[in-house]
Symmetry: C2
């Protein structure tokens, strides 16, 4: 039985970093998020790919027990081609071929409608809204987004933000969306619009959790070699909601633990290209690094 | 009896931020560091000012029990004129008038020579080296620097680094000095040159401690209003060594505590212009925020 519904993109990614290049490898926000969530719970996916989508990528998702009945197959798969420069903090896009994503409309399989936990991973905010509309009010919704939607569909995005429990975004996006240099002000502004919690992802600098009266700062993990940061934010979100769905505890202290699990999976993900690291990741690896995070922040 | 010797600049600062402007206010690396250290121990200062240096600034230093017998008075006081833009992460310089700092040579008062703890705050690395030369081998030396010296006096700077126990620098400087985008690689490189510990200050993102086999990530503090970040790095270093001199414990776990005290004093310092906040800061304020830092990182 699925306990999380994830809507987002499934993509073929061409990625270049100072450490190498991969072509048309499995990617997309829903893919990374599902992989990450699958270590803790049973995610179902809503997305679209094309007829060109390799069979072995379908197998990879199935192997992680991701329910892909909600994966539509039509046209040609969304293709993102991008690169990272020296400091690897920001992806630069060479080419975006939306393909079948362009006409994509959410159609919810009947048995998905009562899922309790929903992750609206990065995709057009209008489809994020449509997802919530087609569901029987879920217990808990988490929203992720990106700068592209902040610029092109701000109003729809603000409408989704009002309807979710947790807003995830990175530091640059928080500053952009709430038009302030101060992350604290941006977070407080976000809290006023509806969500009970705002999580600001800061890449190599860790993550911040803002709730009404509390603040949590998750430590960064000292990775010597970051090979490919693609999908780290999606992994963070997937593991975060995955851990919450597993523990069924939506308290602030448990959010903190979920954020550390998110950081653990994301830090592993950056160690190799695409899903190469996550394909071989074990719960043992995850628990080991969770303990390292505890030691790293102790004083 | 002094337990810390601090060499660095004493300056008149003209500072503009999005929140206001102050002209020729008391500043300089040794000033901020001494103020911060004075909450924990008894610092003595080596620096230079001019005949124009206001009497009430001398009084301010005395009021904090800073030993200023090592403060030479000649010529005109060093004047820095700078500003911060919207994101306040980096100071931009409008004007630097070195004045009496230009000819400054360290002359160590006899009774300073046996001081056990030394903070080589930001100043010409040749004078930092000269300080160590004139002392009877101190127990513990901490070094801070800035991008200007990395560019203009790299060789001298590398020579000082070899001789100290702890190297402090910010993330941009670490990347610049060790020519790598990875902070972990930069820190490991620094450890190979001599210091037992490297601390990377990341401003609003907290601080990292690297020692041979351990890593510590100090949380950021969620300041809603940063009025003026000038001197925060110096305050961090001053409070860090001040706490170590007070507790006489140079273990890695105590370094972690000292880093939090450094972060506490630095975060207070950013709340108002120049030394305005530190002038009224109490040990009670410090301990209260230290406890907040504990809560902020707990999971």
């Amino acid at each position: 039985m699925n306990d999380i519904l994830i809507i987002g993109t499934v993509a073929l990614d061409t990625i270049e970093t100072p450490f190498g290049k991969v072509e048309k490898t499995l990617g997309g926000s829903a893919t990374y998020a599902s992989f990450a969530a699958s270590f803790f719970s049973n995610p179902a996916l809503i997305s679209v790919v094309g007829d060109d989508f390799p069979k072995n990528y379908i197998d990879l998702l199935k192997k992680r027990n991701v329910d892909i009945d909600g994966l539509k197959i039509t046209g040609k798969t969304f293709h993102w081609d991008g690169f990272y420069e020296y400091d690897m903090n920001e992806a630069k896009t060479r080419k975006t071929e939306l393909n079948s994503l362009e006409q994509f409309k959410v159609e919810m399989p009947e048995r998905y409608k009562n899922t309790k936990y929903v992750f609206l991973a990065n995709i057009d905010p209008e489809q994020q809204l449509e997802t919530l509309r087609q569901m029987n009010k879920p217990d808990f919704a988490v929203l992720d987004t990106m700068n592209f939607w902040i610029t092109s569909k701000r109003d729809s995005l603000m409408e989704v933000i009002k309807k979710v429990d947790v807003l995830l975004l990175n530091d640059g996006e928080a500053r952009q969306l709430f038009k302030t240099a101060s992350l604290v002000k941006a977070a407080n502004e976000a809290l006023r619009t509806g969500p009970k919690a705002v999580i600001i992802k800061k890449g190599e600098h860790g993550a911040l959790l803002f709730t009404k009266n509390k603040h949590f700062s998750a430590p960064s993990y000292p990775l010597e070699n970051i090979k490919d940061p693609t999908g780290c934010g999606d992994c963070f979100g997937g593991a975060f909601i995955g851990y919450l769905a597993k523990t069924k505890d939506l308290s602030e202290p448990n959010f903190r633990k979920a954020i550390i699990y998110g950081s653990v999976v994301a830090s592993h993900n950056a160690e190799d290209f695409g899903l190469n690291r996550l394909k071989h990741l074990t719960m043992n690896d995850i628990e080991k690094r969770y303990k390292e995070f505890q030691d790293i922040r102790e004083f």
